[in-house]
Symmetry: D2
Subunit: 351 residues, 4 copies
């Protein structure tokens, strides 16, 4: 497969995650952009919508219904949740050869009732919901390799689960006492016109949002439930930070067996020894978002808490890359038998 | 006292906290700046060191030893910890009439051993350490009114304790299970030349620091110990946010009696009903640093956690104002019998 | 007049300039906010629209048509251009006692044809256009003192004209060769939901806009024409800078008589010797926006260019204060015989 | 040459330009990092100095004198000016096979007297000064291809000269009336510990600096003199913008023949038709730094001024890439006969 050229379509190419798939695809040796859809901007050249993508000879934006999927091998979907279900279903039924990498939230939850409870509407493609593989590459690699529909995790769940799954599996932490304090840059809020996303509103300040209500919670709970074999409820509070990219989770856990940060680090090192994108930092080194900006890396570290029997986990990644578009490309590499790091070797952009 | 003019000296006027005392003093109707010290900049006009203060006819910067304290009524000290002790002692012994509002860390801890353990050196003014009153105005107002030496709390302790003291006193929270996730702008790191404080290093990113080691921890523990009547150890992790001013604490607590956010809000409303600077926001409204930038206000709110028996507290303030210089002026108002809000009525600067 | 309480209405209180009038009014000893209008937010408490103004006991927002102007002494208008004309006319005709301080663009241009050419519509209150006094306080103080309708200059014109009028009057510069390179923070773009104003779009970058087309140009040309006695056409290019407040103009001029920066500084010093808000910095000191953030000050300096016969002027101010709301208050002070600095003594907020 | 592996040394690897060479080299298929020097950090792993480079298996930092240059094919030099001369001379004399790509200022000026006048010291390697080729790839490609020592232009000169050289050659502009207003992010100021580079000082503000004194001026004048065949003096004023990367120049020119923006665009299109990294945008489209962040592209556009006979040029690039490290790699590609875009295909990182 290494020399194959795969033709890719990107749904929702006028959003930030769609754009970052395009950015990465442009230097991926096996990818060719065949179609870019963005209904409200259909007919425009890419340069009008994303000037930074406008120097690369891409096709103009089209409406979804006008795109020709017959020659397309893989579709990346960056549409808002809700709209994705029917479109996915339509494309996959009409073009069974297409493989679908979904970056929206629509196929992440396995349980239709949970979906309905958190998203306020019944799922309209429950059969595909069952078929979808959860695209946390490091933990679902085998299933991803043969999947037709991969549901990439949300950005927060990626950072949370890479830290917590190995610990939950190993029983190192009290699964009933997990507090996740999450911080994200503004790109996580998307490109929609919201007052809170204006430079003057979000700059020089920080604010919690969606306290106890963020839709990434059930996804984290679902996967921690599978890892631990028990139902899980977490405490999760996200915050907006005045930066564009990057996300950092500080997770407070209880270690019932009195395990220390060193034990957590050892569990991670074992779980991720061969992983190209998950890194356990040296003891005492603090992960920071600056180190991963624009790259597909996720950094982890653990610290002893002064309260006995507690530990502090820090995980960081670029929400648009490892938290979305990069992980999507990584999954595509797995699905098509390419080396997993293909097109994802970028070093972070710092400063 | 209302018409009195008090002559003030500011020690460490080339730092951010010193400068913010000067900023506030310039519009305080009862304050006149008599002396500004900054040893490395002695002899310079203020405009060279802080151009924004240079339009107001202030005296030039001098060395501490060259300042004339005889006509000075009150000294604000913005020196680094460690250097403050001897200077305070010297000034107060030579000029017993002077009242001293210390914004450094040197007199906050009541126990000399705790001081030595956290600051790595023995305290050299332990007698004054005993005399100093902890300057959390809302909880030590009476003692402050007659104190000669007031040790203003650190910025993080102010935000933490305003939220936690009423709850600890009322037994609403499990004092052994307090997790504080703190976020601060760069001015909290001071004006010193540190690589991590450069725009290119701190911008567009966020990073935890001082994990389990920050020197504001013992101060919070000391005061929560007093409030609850038990020894307290907390979990405390601060983070640097790419903004200049502002600080926000998300505090995760357990409510042993099953109390909800509404109970916490009720306890706060009772404690702070008459306070001009502490505000319990409407139910569901999220405090954000933007709302307090440049002002002396502290905002509080509480939210139910999805984990039963847990709650999420959010407190925010401007680290240089209510977290330092503003609280210092507030204490001075109390010490000299002035209305407590004098000179502190500024509305936050937004955007 | 010094002890009088003036009742003020603010039109367009949900925009940034309206909000900054309210911020300043709240600590102005002679002002009481009687009415706040914001049609799309009518009925809401101020705290919902501007949390930082929500701690001060202000009236709720109302629709313009529901406000009672009978007891109002002064109206500050922060509406968008175009909508202002009819409303101003309506208020002033119904309530002849009211004095009107307009921060919109509607009454700045004296010539109806110029207005129509730049704003794309005929002016609907040309009689009042004739009556309006241009509110550049330092140069129109006498006329302002007796005016019923004051049209405050735009932010760029304020910074440009304070630098250029004394030079144009004295014939120090070639009036046909003025190049103004202007830089502004995002608050100058208002609170409207525009993609270019999003944090992710405007952050970590800068961009020119409105090249050769910005509507502040005719206003600058009008006033320079008056000052020099000749028709003037300028070169003016504004740029968006990733900050919320502040504006800095670098103006490149030719000095036909070979005058140097020192001559320009001397002309300014003479013109502004008694002005409380216009400051000529020491020779060689560079004005920067940080020095005036949140304050009503304007800083000027001039530098020799390496090209003989040219000079470089730098002027800076806070676009929302001296460039808008602060200047509006300053004009109101003049109109009502109050000391001109009343309520405007705030020192800049730095850092 | 296309499959060759070149061994590279980087001098000054602890600075931002050095680090960006390493970032780009890590994904360049023909480059292998053989040595990284940084005297003050010698002995440390790269991860300690630049965490974002620490995931890639690079050699530890060494002192210059400890590096083994025998197997090195190319040296990239990111040292401060002044220190570079002797080191360059030493390396090239001891290792004649090495080719040297200098990003410092030491070999950019052809005239030793000009060097001494602007840098305050006599040049100590004047023979090499004569040998050095000015590394503005698009205009010195042939000479670069055979050069042993290439002096890469400063970031401002690159943006200025790409815009101005074709116009100066074609006589489209009045060479005696060029006003360059330049804006740069903080990384242009380097990683040194300067108060003005602190987040709190540089954030939320902008400031001119080095007015009429910046050392990039003689370099621009030198090259415009060559292009026009006449001595040139320019007006040049740089400004610091609160962003890390990116630089934008607004250049005001006079067109003696009454040429319009369209003529300028035509001249550029002719000059740069085949250039992979220089782009003339569509008519009316404004270049902005966001479009080039992290990439090697330079964007140009021209606009009619309202003053007849004047035009406004806008050019933008990433100061660390096309303005420094990227251009250095581009020159190396030319020197070694590689396709010029090798390793430089990165799309800009946006947002």
């Amino acid at each position: 497969m290494v020399d194959a050229i795969l033709r890719a379509g990107v749904l929702g190419a006028s959003g930030y995650t769609g754009a970052d798939v395009v950015r990465l695809a442009l230097t991926h040796p096996n990818l060719e952009i065949a179609a870019l859809t963005a209904n409200t901007h259909a007919g425009k050249p890419v340069a009008e919508v994303f000037p930074h993508l406008g120097l690369s000879g891409l096709p103009d934006l089209t409406r979804i219904e006008d795109a020709d999927w017959s020659g397309v091998d893989v579709v990346f979907c960056g549409l808002p949740h809700g709209t994705t279900q029917d479109i996915t279903k339509g494309v996959l039924e009409a073009h069974p050869h297409v493989r679908f990498v979904d970056m929206s939230a629509d196929f992440r939850l396995r349980d239709p009732d949970t979906y309905e409870a958190w998203y306020g509407r019944a799922h309209t493609a429950t059969d595909m919901q069952g078929e979808a593989v959860y695209g946390l590459t490091e933990h679902y690699r085998d299933a991803i390799s043969t999947a037709r529909l991969v549901a990439c995790p949300g950005c927060y769940p990626t950072a949370a689960l890479l830290a917590l799954i190995p610990l939950a599996r190993a029983g190192l932490i009290d699964i009933g006492d997990i507090v996740i304090d999450a911080k994200s840059g503004l790109s996580g809020a998307g490109r929609g016109l919201k007052e809170g996303s204006l430079f003057c509103e979000a700059g020089e300040g920080m604010t919690p949002y969606g306290v106890s209500k963020h839709r990434h919670m059930p996804e984290i709970e679902q996967e921690l439930g599978i890892a631990s074999g028990k139902p899980v409820t977490i405490s999760f509070t996200p915050h907006l930070v005045p930066m564009s990219r990057g996300e950092l989770l500080t997770t407070y856990v209880r270690t019932p067996g009195g395990q220390r940060a060193a034990d957590i680090r050892a569990a991670w090192q074992q779980a991720y020894a061969d992983e190209p994108f998950v890194h356990v930092l040296e003891e005492g080194v603090v992960p920071k978002t600056q180190t991963v900006r624009g790259s597909n890396h996720c950094l982890l570290n653990a610290f002893d808490d002064r309260i006995a029997g507690r530990a502090i986990l820090v995980s960081t990644l670029d929400n648009l890359v490892k938290g979305s578009a990069g992980q999507a490309i990584q999954n595509m590499n797995v699905m098509f038998g390419l080396p997993e790091t293909t097109g994802l070797e970028q070093v972070a952009l710092f400063p």
